[in-house]
């Protein structure tokens, strides 16, 4: 399996040498909302995402369950997730309306495939794509949040939320996820390491400021999620190191999928 490098090293705008202090023209992509993310990630041939392969080993968390996918980009992982894991429903959101448009189109295309097995088509019909910023402007609204999902996917999104909304934003993310999960529900988290933050910190002044103020580093997420402030009871790593080794995934993608269980 060949993966091209993703936003860490090889996003389109990185080809040109930076001239200005802030790449204001790149402000459009300040959320990691790249248009050709999956092309970069998988290359031209579409391949099964290794994360989906891993999740398939634990399908009991997803089959017939209600799922939220935070930061779904153009929806390709979401679509394959639904096909392979047969959830009861998937609400997939992204902060970028254009990406949601693309995701909907991708879904239409996928549904138009005549060779699609019946139950996969049915699963696709249970996906909803919606534009939404998970980090609400009015933070007090969190008090109305009620359990409604059995699994929440938050894959390669924390860096962007962290840079754009700071420690406060990351804490809000975790609190909201916890409140939205049913008892025995799981958060599937794929956090990006802190080492990759720096490169993105100069996107604009606000992000730079947020970056400098970060105290809660990704390495501390696990402890924080298990602390009383959030309340998860258990965590474990879904990614089998053997699988990772076998895949030709570049080092930058050796990010584990962590599972957090709400009891």
């Amino acid at each position: 399996m060949v993966y091209l490098k993703d936003e860490l090293e090889n996003s389109p705008e990185m080809d040109k040498p930076p001239k200005k202090k802030f790449k204001t023209d790149k402000d459009n992509f300040r959320y990691g909302n790249y248009r050709n993310y999956y092309f970069k990630r998988f290359g031209a041939e579409s391949k099964t995402d290794i994360r989906l392969e891993i999740m398939q080993y634990h399908s009991e968390y997803f089959k017939d369950k209600q799922i939220l996918d935070i930061g779904c980009n153009s929806g390709l992982v979401t679509i394959n997730f639904a096909k392979l894991l047969q959830p009861k429903s998937v609400l997939a959101i992204d902060i970028d309306a254009n990406l949601i448009d693309m995701a909907r189109k991708n879904l239409q295309k996928e549904k138009a495939n005549f060779n699609l097995p019946e139950e996969q088509l049915a699963a696709l019909n249970r996906i909803i794509f919606r534009k939404a910023n998970y980090i609400l402007t009015d933070r007090t609204l969190i008090e109305h949040e009620r359990p409604q999902y059995e699994a929440i996917l938050c894959l390669s999104v924390t860096k962007w939320i962290h840079l754009n909304f700071g420690d406060d934003g990351i804490k809000f993310l975790f609190k909201r996820i916890y409140k939205q999960l049913h008892q025995n529900g799981v958060l599937i988290l794929e956090p990006q390491p802190f080492s990759g933050y720096k490169k993105r910190s100069k996107l604009n002044a606000e992000i730079l400021e947020n970056y400098k103020a970060i105290k809660l580093k990704p390495e501390q997420f696990e402890a924080y999620l298990l602390s009383d402030e959030i309340g998860f009871s258990e965590s474990w790593c879904m990614t089998d190191s053997e699988i990772l080794e076998q895949s030709n995934l570049p080092k930058g993608f050796h990010r584990p999928l962590q599972v957090f269980v709400k009891r």
Partner: protein, 429 residues
Amino acid sequence: MHPRNIYKNPPDFNKLRIEYPEFAAKVHIDVDGKIKLNFNDQESVRVLTQCCLMKDFDLKVELPIDKLIPTLPLRLNYILWIEDLLNHCSIKENVFGIDIGTGASCIYSLLLIKMHTQWKMFALEIDKENLKYANKNINYNQFDEKIVLINQEGSNKIFENLFKHDSNHKTFCVCNPPFFSSKNELVLGSENRTGKRKRPRSSYKESSTETVFTEGGELEFVKKIFNESLELKEKVEIYSSMFGCKKNLLNFITVLKHHDIKNFTTTEFVQGKTFRWAIAWSFNRNLLNFEDHTSKKKFEKKPNVLTHTIDDEFETTHSKILNLLSNLKINLKLINKNEKDKYFKYELEALENTWTNQRRKRRAGNKLDESSTFHESASASQEENIVMGFEIYKSNLKSSVNLKIFYLRGTMSRDCVNQILQYIKNNLK
């Protein structure tokens, strides 16, 4: 919605949730942080209504959960229309109102007194429980001097007890009549008589029979008011009632005409997709010109164009729709066409409501029971019609077809336009 109705814009859920913890306990937020309320949940609707009454009118009202929860925008529409009529008749002082069937909420009387502290209201009610709550609500708001509650228990008449209690002239009456003639009508008929979204059937379980069921439904009840008005005449200057079903209103108008009563006026209340009607009549010669009052209003209404897009080929969609319309016995007149650009404009005319019956038949599993046959015969004797404009054209961007449909004229309600479009949408799939 009446231009003076403060609920032209929906209530600010965010302000309500911050001010009222009981409301905050009911709201949900969607993934994007929009505040939502489940309108199918009676308890949520009840809390919303109570909080709005508190916030917008400074009224403390207790609403028992098993009774009709009044829809404020709709109640206000009626009240504002009555204000308009009184204005039109230059009635300003010594206003005495009658609220027939005030309910547990005592809603019309409370609102009217709040808005016109100089007025006096007589609130009539027959149901023991309702009387108890209405009395409480009057007390809570210290309106004991302003609102007189009249117990109708055991009375066959509407106005008898009232005039026994106080024989003076009254200015007007308002009435939201008990509506369902039978359980069948409840199931098959007007879905959302409360003005809210569809009410879960279970919420009627506890409802006392008096509240929602009445012999002969709303039409019989208003006829009773009318018959008594024939004797009382100018003892009440303006008689009025609401109707939840246009057919009943039309039937009632025939009754008025039969008695050669020309001094009446009607109106339509629209709140979202909910339609209600009201009529007022009078025996006072000074109050003539009612008709002018409404006809002016009617012309002010802008045509409400409904649109829909279908992702399909033009020719097939076009012919499918023409088929559907002919199934519904809707007459088509081609007004305009441009084959090259794939644009067609028609005038549609329906002489009977075939689409709701279709819906009912489907819901009732094709079984026609007594109440719906009654409705059909009633409609056949009635000279109903509706004329609509209809445009169908190919979208020049995508391979899709655009539809436009709008009300032009006729006696049937405007919501028929929406129903027909819905019918087309459902049957194209």
